[in-house]
Symmetry: C2
Subunit: 190 residues, 2 copies
Amino acid sequence: MPAGSGIAWELGAGTRLRVVDVEGGQTGDVFAVAADNPADGLSNGRTFDYGDSVHLSTGSVLYSRRSRPLLRIVADDAGHHDFLYAPCSQEMYEIGYGVTDAHPNCLDNLTSSLATFGVPAATVTIAFNVFMRVDIAPDGRLTVLPPTVRAGQAVTFVAERDVVVAVTACPAAKANGGRVRALGVEISAG
Amino acid sequence: MPAGSGIAWELGAGTRLRVVDVEGGQTGDVFAVAADNPADGLSNGRTFDYGDSVHLSTGSVLYSRRSRPLLRIVADDAGHHDFLYAPCSQEMYEIGYGVTDAHPNCLDNLTSSLATFGVPAATVTIAFNVFMRVDIAPDGRLTVLPPTVRAGQAVTFVAERDVVVAVTACPAAKANGGRVRALGVEISAG
C-alpha cells in the first residue's frame, strides 16, 4: 500500500490480515466494522472495557461498539501500538500544523475506502494505530515517540467474525519519525 | 437526577453545567454534541490529540470528532475522571456481569435522552466519565478504583459553543463502590 493511502477489504471469519512495515519506522491505522452491521465499528472504549489495558499486543481482542469481537492480534513483532489518539484528519493538520491546503489524512482514507462497502462515515470515530509509539507518563501526559518498528516487522490480526477492514499508511510526519513510507498488507485464509 | 437515569439539555455557548456528587462516591457520564451538527459528538481520541493527556481536569477542553471544542472544564473538586472506558451498556452487563434481564445503563440513558434532540445513536460512541477513578499501570493495565469524590464535590463545564449535552448517573455498581446514587446538575448562564 503506497504512502498516505488507504484500502478496504471484506474478510470472512478466520481470515488473517498481516500488516508489514516494509521499510521500518512507519505507522498505520486499522479500522474494522462487523459485516452484518455497518454501524458496529471498532471502539477503543469497549476494547478497554473487556481487556482492561491500553497496551494491546498478541492475544488482545479488538471489540466493536456493540461489544462484539472484531479482530484478535495473533502475532506482533513490534509490541507497541496506540488506541488513544484519533486518526489524523484534515482539521488536525490545520489546527496542529497550520496546513491550509488539503492534506492526505487517515480519517479520509479510512472513510472513503470503507464507503465503497456501505460503511457510513459516522462509524469511523477512532482507529487502531499500528506501530505508533505513545508514552503515558504517571500524570497522564501523552508523548508520541518515533516508531521503533524495523523493516520486515509485522502485526497479524485474525477476523473474529465477518468484517470489513480498512488499512492506511499514515501520512503524519510526526508519528513516523519525519518521513512517510509505504506499508505492506497480506491477507490469507486462517 | 435520580440514580441510573439520564437527561439532556440544549446549552448556549458560555452556559455552565455543574455536576454535583450529592451523596459522595457516585460516577456519571457526560456526553455533548455540537448543536449545529448532530453527528459531531464528543471524541476521546480528538481530546487526547489536542490536550496530549488522558488526565483531564480544570482547563481541559473536550473536543468533538470534527476537532471543535465542545466543553471546557472550569472547576473541578474531584480531580479524577475517566475518558478511556466506554459508557456501560446492556451488552456490558451481559458479558461482564452475567446479567440476562434488561439493566439500566449509561449508553441507553445517553442515547435516549439525546434522541429527543435529534441526535442519532451512532453519534454516542464514548462519554466523559465524571468522578470515575481509573489507575493506569506502567504496563498499560487499567484498574477501576472506587471513587473518592465526596458529598458536595462537583465538576463544572462551560459550553464552548451551542451544544446538546446529556448527563447520566451511572448504574454500574463496580464504578461506584457498590452502591448507586443520584447526581445533581446545575445549569447557569456564564
